[in-house]
């Protein structure tokens, strides 16, 4: 990699070094390029403002001391208090976490196995399986949601709730919701793990084989550790997608079951209050935390040299 660094200078380095434009020695050309860079930079700033300002406004008005989400009336945390006192919201939060954890575990196992099969073997029906694995990613969630709704109604399975007690709260989670979440998460896990496997150096496994490690030992000592960042990344993606999903949950849950996004949707439909902002801010915080975890785990995966001492 390092030997051909000269050839892989980036567009930015070229532009910054002025090499691309070096041949235009005239002053106007250089001035033009500098002006172009200023225009481009300010455009970039506006682009990011566009992405962040709306989210920032939601967070700011969650601390507003009035019912308005448009006029600032002083700082207050009362909406967070109201949120914490709302049993429906708390129950929805636990429902969300439960669905996300269960569906992440199942889809990570199934998706990882599928990724191994797809990357390590050539077999009949592979192309069709490829399509089946990609389809849940491409298909819009509304189409998948009504597909599942019809299926669960027709087959009569799934709407039966999984009842359990957690910290004194009684949860009743329909199996249909978990089944649906796993159905779309398998594909995402498989894609992430496959990318990791595809980038893996095959000589590592060959080396293990040459050193008389058997198939299983090679897998557990070489392949699995290398796959691990991919598996973790896939699991985190699945967890995030499951926590965030609204449409599929909304259509497959039947009446009376709320995850946090379903609850928020219901609240929005009833009317805008800063309490929704407070719930949103908590959800934003959770997403940020997940991004942070994924960054840390990815960094760990790339920096660590692979330990080959068997």
């Amino acid at each position: 990699m390092k030997s051909n660094r000269l050839e892989t200078t980036t567009l930015s380095e070229e532009l910054l070094a002025g090499r691309v434009r070096e041949t235009w020695t005239s002053r106007t050309a250089r001035w033009k390029s500098r002006l172009g860079n200023i225009v481009l930079s300010s455009y970039g700033v506006f682009g990011y403002l566009f992405l962040y300002l709306p989210i920032l406004l939601v967070v700011i008005f969650s601390f507003n001391d009035s019912r308005s989400t448009a006029v600032w009336n002083g700082f207050s945390t009362r909406w967070y208090g109201e949120m914490a006192a709302d049993e429906q919201v708390i129950l929805a939060l636990w429902n969300s976490l439960f669905v996300a954890i269960v569906s992440t575990v199942i889809s990570t196992v199934l998706g990882t196995l599928a990724a191994l099969a797809m990357e390590r073997y050539r077999f009949r029906g592979q192309l069709a399986m490829d399509a089946v694995l990609y389809l849940p990613i491409i298909i819009p969630d509304i189409a998948m949601a009504i597909m599942l709704l019809i299926f669960f109604n027709l087959s009569g399975i799934g709407f039966e709730p999984w009842r359990l007690s957690l910290f004194g709260l009684k949860l009743a989670v329909p199996y249909s919701v978990i089944i649906g979440h796993v159905a779309f998460n398998i594909s995402f896990v498989a894609v992430v793990v496959r990318a990791r496997l595809a980038n893996m150096d095959p000589s590592l496994e060959e080396a293990a084989n040459d050193l008389y490690a058997n198939q299983w030992k090679t897998f557990f000592r070489v392949t699995l550790p290398i796959m691990m960042p991919g598996i973790l990344g896939g699991a985190l993606l699945a967890f995030t997608l499951s926590l965030d999903d609204f449409v599929i949950t909304f259509f497959t849950s039947g009446a009376g079951f709320n995850t946090l996004p379903v609850r928020v949707y219901g609240m929005i439909k009833k009317g805008v209050t800063p309490k929704i902002n407070a719930v949103s801010t908590v959800m934003l915080g959770a997403s940020l935390l997940l991004v942070l975890i994924s960054l840390i785990s990815r960094k760990g995966g790339e920096d660590k040299p692979i330990d080959l001492t068997l």
Partner: protein, 288 residues
Amino acid sequence: MQRALRRYPFLGAWLLLSPAATWLFVFFIAPLFIVVLYGFLERGTYGGVVWRFNLENFGRVFDPLYLNTFLRSVYIAVLTTLICLVVGYPLAYFIATRQPARRNALLLALMIPFWTNFLIRTYAWLTILRTNTGLINTMLTSLGIIERPLPLFGNDFAIVLGLVYGWLPDMVLPIYVALERLDKSLLEAASDLYAPGSQVFQRVVWPLSLPGVVAGSMLVFIPSLGAFVTPSILGGGKSLMIGNIISNQFLAAHDWPFGSALSTLMMGLMLAATLVYFRSTTRRGVQA
């Protein structure tokens, strides 16, 4: 067992694959076929279906009421894609031309809104655009700039804005990847041959970034066409898209066959778009 696996390697593949394959065939492929099948049935009196085959549901799509919504959804999706392209291309170019360290930070900053809940990002625009109590109208009226609130909400404008906001990163990322991969010696060659900047872009940068543009357009067009949350929150109950009509058939009208026919058509449209996408990428591959 080990000997069998060595002799028939595909056995191992299917062993690994079977849990995921079973799950997807039962809970994804089978439901997909059922939806397509349901489109050809008759509605039952109390929801559900009557098993009598006909094409009536697909005919009803051409009822002006539904045809209008269908065409408007396509129009909104196309418009969203175009705006994302026009807004997103310079943004991708901006990121690609920064120094590597800053570039990574900018990419992360692009992904963070993308990892946050879509519903919340849509809600954010609701608080900004709402007619009487929205941020923009409140500010403008209190400053005395306008007397009557601007029609920012409950129309196609709000929906397109919400969709552009939601899917912009989907457009920027593939274009960025294409720009980043660009062979820089080509740029040098072009300017060595005295091509002005506009020509370098038109003849070199743009054609080479086209795969990213096409991929990004697909990633924006498909979810925009199937949008449900955005029109139902920012459309204010007036401006609807196919996704809302479909959901109404299941939640309110109890006309499952018609809802199924509509979603079959929607998926067909997306399939067509995907095929066009693959054809355009493979053709380029042959040329290169």
